[in-house]
């Protein structure tokens, strides 16, 4: 089982979103110590495989957060401040919508109340069959949601939202992050199968290299 299921990179390192580079470096060292095979606190708790998986996630968190550009990209699609999951503190975690646990864990649906979601009124515009930047834009506009509202719903910067619709490869992040962005986008528009839509978008982008 993934010990960090539902955690984003900040939570893996026990950092707040505004952490300074020094704090990130310090937290990284601390986490490496806590989960090292010699650690007094955890040496008896994990199998070697689990430990390797945990350490890999710590490395990945540090790699992204310690590099200013990749941290910016990552921040762009993180929901606003979320508390670390804990049964003693938070309520039940929303179940992860992903099949694969290797997904970045931060791509949970936005905690926006369902009443804020665009209600499909009759006659409801139908989500596009073929997912492209253009078809996403048309569907969004058909629902009467402008980019500002979309930014509210998804917490994705408007520039990135626009880049998704324009399929502007220069502005879009690496596919692994992009998938999460499109997923969030599709979720905000109440797609019935947002994962499928996100994957179609990526496939479309890959097959139409400009």
């Amino acid at each position: 089982m993934n010990p960090f299921a539902g955690y984003n990179y900040y939570q893996i390192l026990e950092l707040s979103r505004g952490a300074s580079p020094e704090e990130i470096a310090f937290a990284y060292q601390r986490m490496r110590q806590i989960y090292s095979p010699e650690s007094l606190a955890t040496y008896s708790l994990f199998t070697p495989e689990e430990r390797a998986e945990i350490l890999a996630q710590i490395e990945e968190s540090f790699r992204v957060l310690s590099d200013a550009p990749s941290r910016r990209d990552y921040d762009a699609f993180l929901p606003s401040e979320v508390r670390p999951p804990s049964p003693a503190e938070a309520g039940p975690q929303p179940a992860l919508p992903f099949e694969e646990t290797s997904e970045p864990p931060s791509l949970r649906p936005m905690p926006s109340p369902s009443s804020e979601r665009p209600e499909a009124e009759p006659p409801a515009p139908k989500p596009p069959r073929e997912i492209t930047g253009e078809s996403l834009r048309r569907f969004r506009e058909a629902l009467g949601i402008n980019l500002d509202r979309m930014n509210d719903l998804t917490r994705i910067r408007k520039g990135i939202l626009q880049a998704i619709e324009d399929e502007d490869r220069n502005l879009l992040p690496a596919p692994v992050y992009l998938k999460g962005l499109v997923l969030t986008y599709a979720r905000a528009l109440n797609f019935s199968a947002p994962e499928v839509a996100a994957q179609q978008y990526l496939d479309h982008l890959a097959s139409h290299k400009s």
Binding site: M1, P3, F4, A5, E14, R30, Q33, I34, S39, L40, A41, T42, Y43, S44, L45, P84, S86, P87, A88, E89, G91, P92, Q93, A95
Partner: protein, 304 residues
């Protein structure tokens, strides 16, 4: 539990962690600052708190109450060298009391609650016998003391697991979940290592039940004290364990502080005096004072 009465219990996964020294010192310190404190030697079968306080082996102790030769605990209290600090001596021989039955335990807890005091400090035995765990869970807070050694840490992990599941079993309608939980238990033995994984499995089966269990566990916030630290790394152990508890056990532990390894402790034990009045300026004494202040502050915050 009466709201006006503070009950703090101190336990540990194994013996030799300095639990009694810390209990006696916290008790003596808080009595000096004006609280009416009763130190309860609830280490049924291995009592030695009287020695930490420089008293002779008491003739009458908790065994009198357990065997119903005495019904009022007030009559068993002994004065100490500190005006507001009293001792309720524990039993000396394990056959006296280490296996007291549930009924007896309830009777004892009720009687403790009736004692005239502001604060009861329970020195409960090491390990996780049923009695020990129930004392621990009845207190607010229960505090675990460990030393920075692999054996002590492993025992703390075990103890936390057992406390957690015992706490679940105390749900008044536990029988409604028993079948589901036992089923998961048996099919998923390896994951039982990590209570947090276990809760995620419950979550998958039934979010409702998982929510109930979580709500019930919210009140379980054990304190942690790391005793006999010698290095900076030792000192970090408490915070590391807090992180581990939260992430992998689903328990919000409260790291109360680290207490330094110091000859003063050994000397105070030899002199049969609590560390705190005897060596007030030693580093461990300072740390214990801070821990006591913190516990008092938390208790007042809770409005207890």
């Amino acid at each position: 539990m009466a709201a006006s009465r503070k009950i703090w219990a101190f336990g540990s996964g194994k013996g030799g962690t300095g639990k009694s020294v810390i209990c006696a010192s916290i008790g003596a310190y808080l009595a000096q600052v004006g609280l009416r404190v009763v130190l309860v030697d609830a280490d049924l079968g291995g009592a030695n708190l009287h020695t930490c306080l420089g008293l002779e082996t008491p003739l009458r102790n908790l065994a009198e109450f357990i065997h119903r030769r005495e019904n009022d605990l007030q009559n068993l209290l002994l004065p100490t060298a500190y005006p507001l600090l009293q001792l309720l001596p524990g039993t000396q021989y394990s056959h006296d009391a280490s296996t007291i039955r549930f009924q007896q335990q309830r009777r004892l807890l009720r009687a403790l609650n009736r004692l005239e005091a502001d604060l009861l400090i329970l020195d409960i035995g090491a390990g996780s016998s049923a009695v020990t765990m129930d004392f621990f869970l009845a207190a607010d807070p229960g505090v675990l003391i460990l030393t920075p050694e692999p054996t002590a840490v492993e025992n703390i992990h075990q103890m936390l697991r057992q406390l957690l599941f015992r706490k679940l079993r105390s749900l008044h309608d536990y029988h409604r979940f028993r079948t589901l939980l036992n089923g998961l238990w048996e099919t998923q033995q390896p994951s039982y290592r990590m209570p947090w994984d276990f809760f995620q499995m419950v979550e998958q089966k039934s979010p409702d039940i998982a929510g109930r269990l979580r709500a019930h566990l919210r009140g379980f916030r054990p304190g942690l004290i790391v005793n006999q630290v010698r290095t900076e790394e030792d000192r970090e152990l408490g915070r590391a364990l807090k992180t581990v508890c939260q992430r992998h056990f689903g328990v919000e532990a409260d790291f109360l502080g680290a207490v330094e390894y110091d000859d003063a402790v050994w000397q105070s034990v030899r002199q049969r005096q609590p560390l705190l009045p005897a060596f007030p300026h030693s580093r461990p004494a300072r740390s214990i004072r801070q821990i006591a202040d913190k516990l008092l502050y938390r208790a007042r915050q809770r409005g207890a």
